[in-house]
């Protein structure tokens, strides 16, 4: 599934990184704890989270996430979005779906769990 398909499927809004929506998502990782993202995420996955602070964006970069989707209609403060636009091309979406439903819907469409196999 591409990010563009996911956007349509979840009725999500793109906050930045419109140019990268053709990225293909095979795996996803759902989490609200930065340390757990740093410890357990593999790479090239879609990060699903309720956290919308600047740490999440930095963390997404550190773990080489393909994109980030904020759940429950949450969105970061405007200044956070501005910083991302300036420094990064990572696509960021927001959906009204809660994390549970977001995972359920993507899982039903064949998105797999992200698993760390090295590190």
């Amino acid at each position: 599934m591409t990010l563009r398909e996911i956007q349509a499927y979840l009725g999500a809004e793109v906050l930045c990184g419109e140019g990268q929506l053709d990225r293909e998502v095979h795996e996803a990782f759902a989490c609200d704890l930065i340390s757990e993202m740093l410890a357990s995420a593999g790479s090239h996955m879609l990060l699903i989270t309720s956290l919308t602070n600047a740490h999440v964006i930095h963390t997404a970069e550190v773990i080489d996430a393909l994109g980030v989707i904020f759940v429950g209609g949450r969105r970061p403060a405007e200044d956070v979005i501005e910083i991302v636009k300036k420094n990064s091309s990572i696509p960021i979406l927001t959906t009204k779906c809660q994390m549970f439903d977001c995972c359920g819907l993507l899982f039903a469409r064949g998105v797999q769990a992200d698993r760390k196999d090295s590190l």
Binding site: L33, I34, S35, L38, H55, V62, N87
Partner: protein, 150 residues
């Protein structure tokens, strides 16, 4: 004549100041060092381990200390990440290493940190880890990642 490029590469050091509750600098320095290492053409897996160590170590300083420094030393053999802080210190390093042990506040937890994973994460990513801490004085942490396979 074959030239070993590393032989002529000077030792590269990066330095960041961390103030109390300056949580932003942790992620920012991790991202910046990551970009630098990518430019140097280092292996992805090494870069990720280094970035995780920087993130967690700098976050520990921002959460627990009054101020500190983050330094990254890059040599042809290894990268060493050092945090040197003034502040609380760790009363029981073994306990702090235990997964899930945390003294962080509710506010920190709601930011997505403080789940007691910081030091365990650092230990997992580092080839060598040294922690020297004195209660009421501060903590010196040194984590090294070697370029050769573990």
């Amino acid at each position: 004549m074959a030239v070993d490029t590393f032989q002529f590469t000077p030792k590269i050091n990066l330095e960041f100041a961390i103030r109390e509750k300056d949580f932003f600098v942790a992620g920012e320095s991790a991202s910046r060092v990551k970009k630098t290492l990518q430019q140097l053409g280092m292996q992805q897996e090494i870069i990720k381990r280094v970035a995780v160590i920087i993130y967690e170590a700098a976050m520990n300083v921002a959460i627990h200390a009054s101020h500190g420094m983050l330094r990254v030393f890059i040599s042809p053999e290894a990268i060493t990440i050092e945090t040197d802080d003034a502040g609380g210190g760790i009363p029981d390093v073994d306990l702090a290493m235990k997964e899930g042990y945390s003294t962080a506040t509710h506010e920190i937890r709601e930011m997505g940190f403080g789940a007691g994973m910081g030091l365990p994460n650092i230990r997992q990513c580092a080839d060598e880890l040294k922690i020297d801490s004195k209660v009421g004085v501060g903590t010196l942490l040194q984590a090294t990642v070697y370029f050769t396979n573990r």
